[in-house]
């Protein structure tokens, strides 16, 4: 039985077509990748600057911790836990812990009941 095989080697025209497509793909892919990597780096740089900005702002604040805020301490002393500073007092629990969605109605009932 005869077996027919293709001739080995390629013509100049075939070489230029194959090499041309490969070159165009590599160059286009390279440019595309370069643009993407640059955008990625710029994005990383922006995030780092933003984080640094937030830390810098925070460091400049006179009061940086809520539990050291005199107004919050006064609120506990006068209203939420009269005579002391108790963040887990019953009144603080009911007034400062909220609920969401379908539980809102339940919370409103509880508040009304508590006020009464």
């Amino acid at each position: 039985m005869s077996i027919f095989l293709e001739r080995e080697g390629i013509t100049r025209r075939q070489f230029f077509k194959g090499a041309g497509l490969l070159t165009i793909t590599l160059v286009a892919g390279g440019i595309f990748a370069k643009i993407g990597i640059d955008i990625f780096k710029a994005s990383d740089k922006y995030i780092a600057q933003r984080v640094q900005g937030l830390y810098d702002l925070d460091e400049k604040m006179a009061l940086r911790r809520s539990h050291e805020n005199p107004e919050v301490l006064q609120l506990y002393q006068d209203f939420l836990s009269p005579g002391s500073v108790s963040p887990v007092s019953e009144k603080a629990h009911h007034l400062l812990h909220t609920r969401y969605g379908k539980e809102t109605a339940v919370m409103m009932d509880e508040l009304k009941h508590h006020a009464a």
Binding site: S2, F4, R7, R13, Q14, K17, G18, L22, F40
Partner: protein, 219 residues
């Protein structure tokens, strides 16, 4: 048809392996893509949920890209011949397109012009597959690797191009499968690409007359 005896080696081993790799990756990519684009829980769950389906999609995409790339680098001559064939259109190709190679029942084809290793329809399919793969690869990787960095409008463009190219590719591959594996006039092609690479000389002499003449001249 003549009573020509013998076989033609149409697709060599590396070509067949690359075709298999690309086919399996394409099936995985198409299936997972459909799964998480239309939120088909059944498909997602085959892969262990949407997150895993997404991982399978991404790594199948790496193989989908690397497979042909490695093949081209190892088989540059074969690739160049293939690319030259599918981008060379002669009078015979346009003649083939006029009668659609006699494949469509409502177009009368008294004479189908002689064809190269690939007929005009296969040439157009080859070009569309190359362009489609490049588009899908170039839009897919930014969606994976740069999604948090690139502008939203660019990402949206990538999603749209990726999606519509994938839809066209799935339809093309469906048509390719029908003609290569089911249609009675051309299903002999199936074994040559999927199994041993050989096809009857008689079939080649009839369907790829111009190429077969060259093969007969080859030493």
């Amino acid at each position: 048809m003549s009573d020509l005896k013998g076989k033609v080696l149409k697709h060599d081993q590396q070509t067949r392996v690359m075709h298999w790799v690309h086919l399996l990756c394409f099936l995985l990519l198409g299936l997972t893509g459909i799964g998480f684009y239309w939120k088909v829980a059944l498909i997602d769950n085959i892969f262990g949920g949407p997150a895993n389906a997404s991982l399978v999609h991404r790594w199948a995409a790496v193989l989908f890209t690397a497979g042909p790339a490695i093949y081209i680098l190892l088989n540059f001559e074969r690739f160049s011949k293939f690319f030259d064939t599918i981008t060379s259109f002669s009078k015979d190709d346009f003649g083939w397109l006029k009668v659609m190679g006699g494949y469509l029942p409502f177009i009368k084809a008294d004479h189908v012009p002689p064809q190269d290793k690939y007929n005009a329809g296969q040439k157009i399919l080859g070009i569309m597959i190359i362009v489609g793969c490049l588009l899908i690869i170039l839009t897919g990787f930014p969606m994976w690797l740069w999604r948090h960095s690139v502008p939203a409008v660019f990402l949206s463009l990538c999603y749209n191009v990726h999606f519509w190219t994938a839809i066209i590719m799935i339809l093309l591959v469906g048509g390719h499968f029908f003609l290569a594996a089911i249609h009675p006039k051309s299903r002999v092609e199936f074994a040559s690409m999927m199994i041993d690479g050989y096809i009857d000389a008689e079939v080649t002499a009839h369907h790829n007359e111009k190429w077969f003449k060259e093969l007969r001249k080859a030493p």
